[in-house]
């Protein structure tokens, strides 16, 4: 680990030159991320403004007259040149408010505080299901390649990968909610539990535990389990296929045969040698799957009346509401950049060669 430390950050008592080098490196990294995000925002903004959608209509309604239109048009600053509008958005962004969302009438920041935790909660439960099922499935399929188990895993994976979530969601609701009554229906909570716990994180599973309300926790759990399973199922399909192919590649290597010849048991080889070697690639795959879940899943959110990020972004886009859209795009950008950095870090921890 010593090597990592000298390149990554100055340890106590190191020369000022090393510190400067690190600062430069970090500065360059931050600048490149900032430029990427700014470029992303500019591209989205100018493309969005080219859409033939008039954001004023979301506020005043379709039948309003010219005077109302002109008043709101000016209030929104749409009479200003595009670069001024863009600058205003950047300025609002710096204050952390992102301006007003036209199609909800709230501050974008307030909206995001509401919709993003809902999506993080759903995405996190989904990825736990996706990883918990996908990795073991993929490993088993690789180890027992060509067996019935492999075929079953492939079939289940293919089904998860190719069925539209919208359809799966409705079918899931019909079966597990309407017919069997195992889970709760659309929404995040039953009406009688709404506003029973104070939002701290905005994630109901956590907030209900913090507030010591087990009933609310179970209600939230029975609401999240179905949409999370459906989203988790598609992640699982992807993760298990990737795990399988990574494992197959490793298992065909000579060092595996060598280890087996030396008398190591099959599963010891799989676990100790092959699996460790695929960990790095797997982490990237999982991080990507998680990032896609965090973007929000508009169709699943629609079917399950889940007030999440995906639907928020889509509604904003359809109303031509650039404040909301840009804030969402920025968050997605940060998620991808952040997860990239995180998996880079994990690489360094997991792969001794990068140290």
């Amino acid at each position: 680990m010593a090597g990592t430390e000298t390149t990554a950050r100055p340890a106590a008592g190191e020369s000022p030159a090393a510190g400067m080098r690190w600062l430069k490196l970090a500065g360059r990294q931050v600048a490149s991320v900032a430029v990427t995000l700014l470029g992303l925002l500019a591209l989205t903004f100018f493309m969005g403004r080219m859409l033939p959608i008039d954001p004023v209509i979301a506020i005043i309604g379709e039948q309003a007259e010219k005077e109302t239109y002109d008043m709101v048009f000016a209030q929104l600053g749409l009479d200003q040149p595009l670069y001024v509008q863009f600058w205003r958005f950047i300025r609002d962004m710096m204050t952390g408010q992102f301006g007003d969302a036209l199609f909800t009438g709230n501050k974008v920041a307030d909206d995001l505080r509401r919709v993003f935790p809902a999506t993080i909660e759903l995405a996190t439960v989904s990825i736990i299901i996706g990883v918990g099922l996908g990795v073991p499935f993929g490993m088993l399929a690789a180890v027992y390649r060509g067996s019935l188990l492999d075929h079953v895993a492939r079939f289940i994976g293919l089904l998860g990968y190719s069925s539209p979530n919208f359809w799966l969601g409705l079918m899931g609701l019909i079966l597990f909610y309407a017919t069997l009554g195992w889970v709760s229906g659309p929404g995040r909570l039953d009406v009688m539990f709404i506003d029973m716990v104070e939002p701290v994180t905005g994630m109901l599973l956590i907030d209900s535990l913090l507030a010591g309300e087990p009933e609310v926790f179970w209600d939230a759990f029975s609401h999240i389990v179905l949409p999370a399973s459906i989203l988790g199922y598609s992640s699982m399909a992807y993760i298990s296929r990737m795990t399988r192919s990574f494992m197959l590649e490793q298992l065909s290597q000579e060092y595996i045969t060598a280890a087996r010849v030396k008398g190591m048991s099959r599963w010891r080889v799989v676990w100790r040698h092959a699996f460790r070697n695929i960990l790095v690639q797997l982490v990237t795959v999982i991080a990507l799957a998680y990032a896609f879940l965090l973007e929000g899943a508009v169709l699943t959110e629609t079917v399950f009346a889940w007030p999440g990020f995906g639907r928020y972004l889509t509604s904003g886009l359809l109303a031509g509401d650039m404040n909301a859209v840009l804030a969402c795009v920025l968050i997605i950008g940060i998620i991808f950049v952040g997860l990239n950095l995180l998996s880079d870090l994990l690489y360094r921890t997991l792969d001794p060669r990068t140290r």
Binding site: A58, E65, D190, V191, D219, V225
Partner: protein, 543 residues
């Protein structure tokens, strides 16, 4: 079995257990809604405010009429009749210019504070001063920011004196202005106290009332979580018969299939957003009944009058023979609409009767003859824009198919509603299929916007007039409409509106396809849920 395999299997089972585990451990109460609450599912996407001065969409309007009641109200059985509400009576001066409204003396806000004519006066002034779309409820009758203080005046706690610019028929003014959502009585004191002033301009409490308007009505808004839920609580100080149910909970459920399942399961009492397939299935369910209301709204085709081909009345007339009104009515329009070709909706004051209001039928030979007479025997090609939502694209394909049979090639382009509205408002279309809702149940509502066009110049930008959007103007119609608007003899006024409708069916820039229908599916345990095209009354609903 080695431990690693066991671990792998354990992880698998654990994850799988999440789903089925929910069944075993999560306590599942039998789905029923609370006894003292009405639970309704709807799509609350468009809701951006509860300030009655600003609300410009259907859902907010539906809710606010239960929270901020207008001075007078439509008769639940016949909306062309007006009944007293917070105003107990009214009288008109002999010259027809001064209307004196007597408010009930027992009006209270939910807090128990007395509500007076001074609150009513301020509430109407603020709608005019704020200048959102709803200000048209006043400005179209000559009220303005400059004259509001003199023309809408409280003279004591229960008397409101309104001076008109012209002696409009009282029936029209009651229906169009006093029964509109813009005459709800709001708390002046709270509004003034909480008004925000920017650059010397007051917002009249617009931001303050956004989430919780303080109004005279059967319910009050106590909670609004954007895109999640709206909760109304009964106003215990309501002047009339108090609401039967203590709470109304409106849940945001944007998908029809999900609403249907919730309703069937009993997790909601009322479903407000259902597609035809789900409605058909629910209608067969003995625990549920589907109620339909014929709305004062339309789906129609608009033609760009500035187009060299579509500008010809004969061509537009031909399109009316390309719509299979009867066939549509029997198929696609089930639970969605009633075929109608006249621009005044059935049920409105001055509307043609059902038969005369829809004289057209699919007649390809006639349509071909009309375009031949217009000089286009081989047909032509036009772009046709339409919403991608609901049944709109299916209706469009139907018209496209019929048009193709006589050589008219229509190139369909589907788009999001906001996009379609933008195109319509900027005259950027050849053939447009779109919707429109009348503001009040009087022929004047549609005619004053769809037939009248005060200024056809592009720079006039009168996008609130679909006639302007279609670049269509007819001085004769402008005059006829103005005359009818001023006619104080109801029988004569009706006759004048009939004439305008007949004229427009022949010459107008639109082809009306159907009058919209609002289907609502309600569980049978809910009784007394009353509705008209302009109100859905939550107060009378009980279990």
């Amino acid at each position: 079995m080695p431990t690693t395999v066991r671990a792998a299997f354990a992880a698998t089972l654990l994850s799988a257990g999440l789903l089925s585990g929910a069944a075993a451990i999560a306590p599942q109460a039998q789905a029923t809604t609370p006894r003292d609450a009405l639970v309704m599912a709807w799509n609350l996407d468009a809701l951006i405010t509860f300030d009655p001065a600003q609300i410009a969409e259907v859902n907010g309007n539906d809710i606010i009429r239960n929270v901020c009641e207008p001075l007078v109200n439509y008769d639940l059985t016949d909306v062309s009749k007006i009944l007293p509400n917070t105003a107990a009576s009214w009288s008109v001066s002999d010259d027809g210019l001064i209307i004196t409204l007597k408010l009930r003396p027992d009006l209270q806000f939910p807090s128990g504070k007395k509500a007076t004519a001074y609150d009513a006066e301020w509430s109407m002034h603020r709608v005019i001063h704020l200048g959102f779309g709803n200000s048209a409820n006043f400005t179209q009758w000559g009220f303005s920011r400059d004259n509001a203080a003199e023309t809408i005046k409280a003279t004591d706690d229960t008397t409101l004196v309104v001076t008109l610019a012209k002696p409009y028929p009282i029936g029209l003014i009651l229906s169009a202005m006093f029964a509109s959502g813009s005459t709800g009585i709001m708390d002046k004191e709270e509004g003034l106290k909480n008004a925000r002033v920017t650059d010397g301009k007051s917002d009249f409490g617009n931001a303050f009332f956004k989430t919780a308007p303080i109004c005279v009505g059967a319910y009050r808004v106590t909670r609004w979580n954007t895109n999640e839920v709206v909760i109304l609580e009964r106003n215990e100080n309501y002047w009339g018969e108090k609401a039967k149910l203590r709470r109304v909970i409106i849940r945001h459920v944007p998908e029809s299939g999900a609403q249907r399942l919730l309703l069937e399961k009993g997790d909601i009492d009322v479903a407000r957003l259902l597609n035809t397939d789900d409605l058909r299935a629910l209608a067969k369910n003995p625990a549920i009944h589907v109620e339909t209301t014929v709305m004062h709204g339309y789906a129609y085709l608009a033609f760009n009058g500035g187009d060299p081909i579509l500008g010809k009345p004969l061509v537009r007339e031909a399109f009316r023979y390309l719509i299979d009104y009867e066939g549509l009515g029997k198929t696609i329009l089930e639970y969605q609409g009633n075929p109608r070709a006249s621009l005044v909706p059935e049920g409105a004051f001055g509307a043609l009767d059902i038969k005369e209001g829809q004289p057209f039928k699919l007649d390809l030979a006639k349509a071909r003859a009309l375009i031949t007479e217009a000089g286009f025997p081989d047909g032509f090609t036009k772009k046709y824009i339409v919403s991608a939502n609901n049944i709109a694209p299916i209706v469009a394909q139907h018209i496209q198919a019929n048009a193709a049979k006589i050589g008219i090639k229509l190139e369909l382009e589907q788009m999001a509603d906001a996009n379609l509205f933008t195109r319509a408002r900027s005259r950027d279309f050849e053939v447009l299929q779109i919707g429109w809702g009348a503001g009040y149940p009087d022929a004047d509502s549609m005619i004053s916007r769809h037939a009248v066009n005060p200024d056809n110049r592009p720079e006039a930008r009168l996008a609130q007039y679909p006639s302007w959007r279609s670049s269509w103007q007819d001085e004769k119609v402008n005059e006829m409409a103005e005359d009818a608007r001023m006619e104080r003899d109801p029988a004569k006024r009706i006759a004048m509106y009939h004439e305008i409708q007949r004229y427009m069916m022949k010459n107008g820039p639109m082809a009306y396809i159907y009058q919209t229908v609002r289907p609502i599916a309600v569980r049978k345990e809910v009784k007394g849920f009353a509705m008209t095209p302009f109100n859905v009354v939550y107060r009378t609903a009980g279990k």
